[in-house]
């Protein structure tokens, strides 16, 4: 535990300050983010939620440094972000493993392009693969792994670089329900062990509350921060917490905020808002069953 406290100092803090981002869509200027301000605090797990098209992915692309804001700025520990770098690593929605490399080669890709000696990188990679339970699969290609294993390999590829901030863009989307729950538990344990700064995007409210220290809810068009919910469920988290009263209160509260924004997106004809509304009704049905 003490070690974690010390480690925390090596993790980063992201500040998004008054960021505006506009895209040209079929000749029309679309304001995706407007005057968006938020903090991803050091050593906390911040979960970002909002209706489809609210600019979550844009915000992540900006923080990762793939795109530049039109105005405002993004700071990592007070330093402006100018481009992608290994101190802010992204785990993508669909797997972004390099299919032509083995698991081990994928994991050592970061160190090798950063000029770290091969033997050092290899040893470190084997340690991390052990942690994520993929040591026996180090010489397999990604296509030989199951969905859950692929996500773990991707986490390993990010973790080996000891990033200051981990950014996860719906990393468990597309996994079957069982694998998804196991991955959530695996991930939340990993977070609790490392205490690393995490920004996690999801569509799944239960997942969000289960994982989060802070739940950030975004508005729809233009995207900015609607509200931040402090999730005060105790850690370590366990799946039994999903049935607690506090969990349900938090979910009910977040659901109302999200529902309002989603209906806005729905009325706007945003096709993918259907997913979200659909997801809510399923969540509701589950609750009744309990």
């Amino acid at each position: 535990m003490k070690k974690t406290e010390q480690n925390k100092q090596s993790f980063g803090e992201i500040k998004v300050e008054g960021v505006t981002k506009t895209f040209l869509d079929e000749g029309k200027q679309v304001e995706v983010l407007k005057d968006c301000t938020m903090v991803v605090p050091r050593g906390k797990l911040t979960v970002l939620m909002g209706p489809s098209g609210c600019g979550k992915t844009s915000l992540i692309n900006l923080i990762a440094g793939y795109e530049q804001p039109d105005s405002g700025q993004i700071l990592l520990d007070g330093e402006p972000v100018n481009g992608p770098g290994p101190e802010r690593l992204v785990v993508f929605q669909e797997t972004a493993l390099f299919s032509w490399m083995t698991v081990l080669q994928n994991v050592t890709f970061g160190p090798s392009v950063q000029g770290i000696p091969k033997a050092v990188a290899r040893e470190r990679a084997l340690q991390i693969l052990q942690t994520v339970g993929l040591k026996d699969f180090k010489d397999k290609y990604p296509s030989q792994l199951s969905g859950g294993m692929q996500r773990r390999a991707e986490l390993a590829r990010a973790l080996i670089n000891e990033p200051k901030v981990m950014i996860l863009d719906e990393p468990f989307r597309g996994l079957d329900a069982m694998t998804r729950e196991i991955m959530q538990e695996f991930y939340v344990n990993l977070f609790q062990e490392t205490g690393m700064t995490n920004l996690f995007v999801t569509h799944d409210l239960e997942e969000a509350i289960f994982l989060a220290d802070r739940l950030v809810i975004m508005t729809y068009k233009p995207g900015k921060i609607k509200e931040v919910i402090e999730v005060d469920l105790p850690r370590p988290r366990h799946f039994t917490m999903i049935t607690t009263q506090r969990f349900n209160e938090l979910r009910q509260y977040a659901l109302e905020l999200l529902y309002h924004e989603s209906t806005k997106a729905f009325a706007d004809g945003c096709k993918s808002a259907f997913d979200l509304i659909d997801g809510f009704s399923r969540g509701g049905a589950k609750r009744e069953a309990m």
């Binding site: 990762a64 793939y66 290994p86 972004a96 390099f98 890709f109 392009v113 950063q114 670089n161």
Partner: protein, 272 residues
């Protein structure tokens, strides 16, 4: 030494298993299909089916075939054709793959080359034959040029497509992990477009054979295409058919070679 080794291998359960698999019902059906084809051919000649009665008997073709296989000149023709194929094909890869990669990675290069490229691409390679004959000093060079054209456009368009289809997230992930532009090019773009490069090669090889045969018939000296054409001028029907079968076999051999190359170059594509 060697014999015992071979015997051992023959007796191993794996070989037996493979032999069994080879002789399964589907293989038998395949053999029936081939025999059926020959029987049909025989019947066509025996019953003098209109327009087809000039065909030689299968046995006649087989006999000519056996004789041809023993002739040095026949194998020389194989050599000549293969040399022409590979000369044009390899140059097409050497020029086409880098050009496709450059077009896929640099917008400036694509803007400068793509319109001209797209103007020339739809021209069937065979339509280049007259110009090629006039333009190049020797017939041999004309044929190299034509086999080059046969593979070139297909290679470039496939490589270009391969590079463009690499998901943007892979490049982003690499950049986040600290890859420099040169790392992204060599470690992401090149291996990422390899499947398309191999597809381009496979299709290109087929087209190259098409072009070669046409070119040999018109302009060549020697080669399997020329051999078939000369058999026509000599009214040697069995040899025409031997020529056709040889061209088919040569094309198949070349495609298998590319497939094998693909398997070696892309171990991650193997079926597990």
């Amino acid at each position: 030494m060697t014999t015992t080794k071979v015997e051992n291998r023959l007796c191993s359960p794996l070989i037996l298993h493979r032999a069994k698999r080879f002789l399964n019902i589907r293989t038998l059906r395949g053999i029936v299909s081939l025999i059926g084809f020959v029987v049909l051919w025989q019947l066509v000649v025996v019953f003098k089916v209109p327009y087809l009665h000039n065909l030689p008997y299968p046995a006649e073709v087989a006999e000519t075939g056996m004789q041809t296989l023993g002739k040095k000149g026949y194998w020389l023709n194989w050599g000549i054709s293969l040399k022409r194929i590979f000369a044009g094909f390899i140059i097409a890869q050497l020029v086409g793959i880098p050009l496709g990669l450059a077009m896929g990675t640099s917008r400036v290069i694509k803007d400068l080359t793509f319109p001209a490229f797209e103007m020339l691409r739809p021209i069937p390679p065979i339509a280049w034959i007259p110009l090629a004959i006039l333009f190049w000093p020797t017939p041999e060079m004309s044929i190299y040029f034509l086999t080059f054209i046969g593979a070139f456009f297909i290679v470039v368009i496939n490589v270009l497509q391969g590079v463009t289809n690499i998901p943007v997230n892979l490049k982003r992930a690499a950049a986040s992990l600290g890859a420099k532009p040169s790392d992204i090019f060599w470690k992401i773009m090149v291996p990422g477009s390899l499947p398309s490069i191999i597809t381009g090669m496979t299709v290109g090889m087929g087209v190259t054979w098409n072009v070669l045969i046409a070119a040999e018939m018109i302009a060549g000296r020697g080669g399997l295409g020329r051999m078939t054409w000369e058999a026509y001028t000599n009214n040697a029907l069995p040899t025409i058919i031997i020529g056709m079968i040889s061209i088919g076999a040569a094309g198949y051999l070349c495609s298998s070679l590319i497939r094998a190359l693909g398997d070696v170059a892309m171990p991650w594509k193997k079926r597990f």
